[in-house]
């Protein structure tokens, strides 16, 4: 998501990109949104007649967190430690 630079993503798209199942993805999204690291909003699709979709992107603090914990580097923040307890 950090690479998207403010781009909005959909759930199925994120699951495919990250290579994780929806059952792993959504609890993480919910938690990140609850902690303020993720922004979520309903977006109207370009095509008419379709329902709005939930879209996600990192908030400013989420981007900071992601930059501080690049892939492969152990998480350091308290929030990340709490997440690891689950």
């Amino acid at each position: 998501m950090l690479d998207g630079r403010g781009q909005w993503w959909h759930g199925y798209e994120l699951a495919k990109l990250a290579g994780i199942k929806s059952g792993t993805l959504y609890p993480l999204l919910i938690r990140l949104e609850g902690q303020g690291y993720l922004e979520a909003e309903w977006q109207q699709p370009a095509e008419g007649g379709r329902p709005p979709r939930h879209a996600y992107r990192l908030s400013a603090s989420g981007e900071q967190l992601a930059r501080a914990n690049p892939p492969g580097k152990p998480a350091t923040s308290v929030a990340q430690r709490r997440k690891a307890m689950i």
Binding site: A15, G23, R31, A40, H54, K83, M85
Partner: protein
Amino acid sequence: MSGGLRRGLAEFACRSLKAALPPSLQSWASAIRIETAEIPDDTKALQFALGSLFGLMPTALGSRLLRPSALLIGKAAPSHGETTTMNFYDIALRRPRATGSVCALGAVALGLCYMGVAGAPSHYLAINSAALAIGLAMLALLGRVMQAARQWTDGTIAVMAGALLATALLGNHVDGAARWVTLGGLSIQPSLVLLPLMIGAFARWRTALATAGIIAAAAAMALQPDRAMAGMLAGSLAVLAMMRPERQIMVALGASIASFIITLARADTLPAAPYVDQILYSSFDVHLAAGAAVLLGSALLLVPSIVGWCRDPANRPAYAVFGAAWLAGIVAAALGNYPTPIVGYGGSAIIGYALSLLVLPKHAQAVAGAAFRKQGEMDPTQPDRHLIVGLA
């Protein structure tokens, strides 16, 4: 499976998720439903919906379970930033009966896993599941009426003792043992249902009538004869006597030890029943995972007493007696041909475990109400001391 059916199942999974999630997370259920509809491939859509359902079910359960305690302590619903681990930790500290219910659920589920792997008849699994539902429903129901019917507790102990004596005298005889009665076409072992509850009730309510009830129960165990349950009675009363060396407890302990000695002296030739007895060992012959499920399920039974003992000192006698009773049941199952509580086939122990949770405080560390002592027989530290059981 046709594409339409897969779509239908995916839709059903999304609707189930919406029903399970608390109001604060309903928008996520809607998001998943719409996202599922956007996936062109039917199979992938079904996988996406089912994955979301199973992945979010712990969150849904955690939110639902924590809500009552949040109301109790005047807190708003937990934020989703709190971890599930923290939520269950809170529940374990504040709601011993809820913790016990979760442990019962886990132990029964692990028992079902064992029986499924071991190839037990499918109706065994159904009976254990139904017993859990019945036990938890009775726990909820009786938990509500306890306060209103407090004065009947010792009388109820006496009535339950009468039921155990009647079983010994009039129950179904198998190889010289009379431990069962037939109800609705099912064979039930009343001692497994009633005795843990009676012991816990006696730990809290010690009148002359209650003591007489325990002595009668000890006599019934000697008559049946049932070493496992006599051992459970003697072991848990011994623990209670160590914590509260009072006259009535010592008298009841003496009777229970005599009963246990009599059961040891009498012949017990009942062979082991498949999926019921000796499964602590035989499950490992089936599969390592089956053995682990049985061991873990048995250990879960003791969790409420261990957590309560550590975190709720005011009510330690209740936790100690509860733990001693079920530990004795597990040890007996390990040593002889006696039912392995909860994880083995048999609804009596499941219902008995659920009912015995009534002896634990509903809310740990609750402020004790006005003392309601009757010639010094009640334990003033018990906030939820008035146990009544309508099981006669």
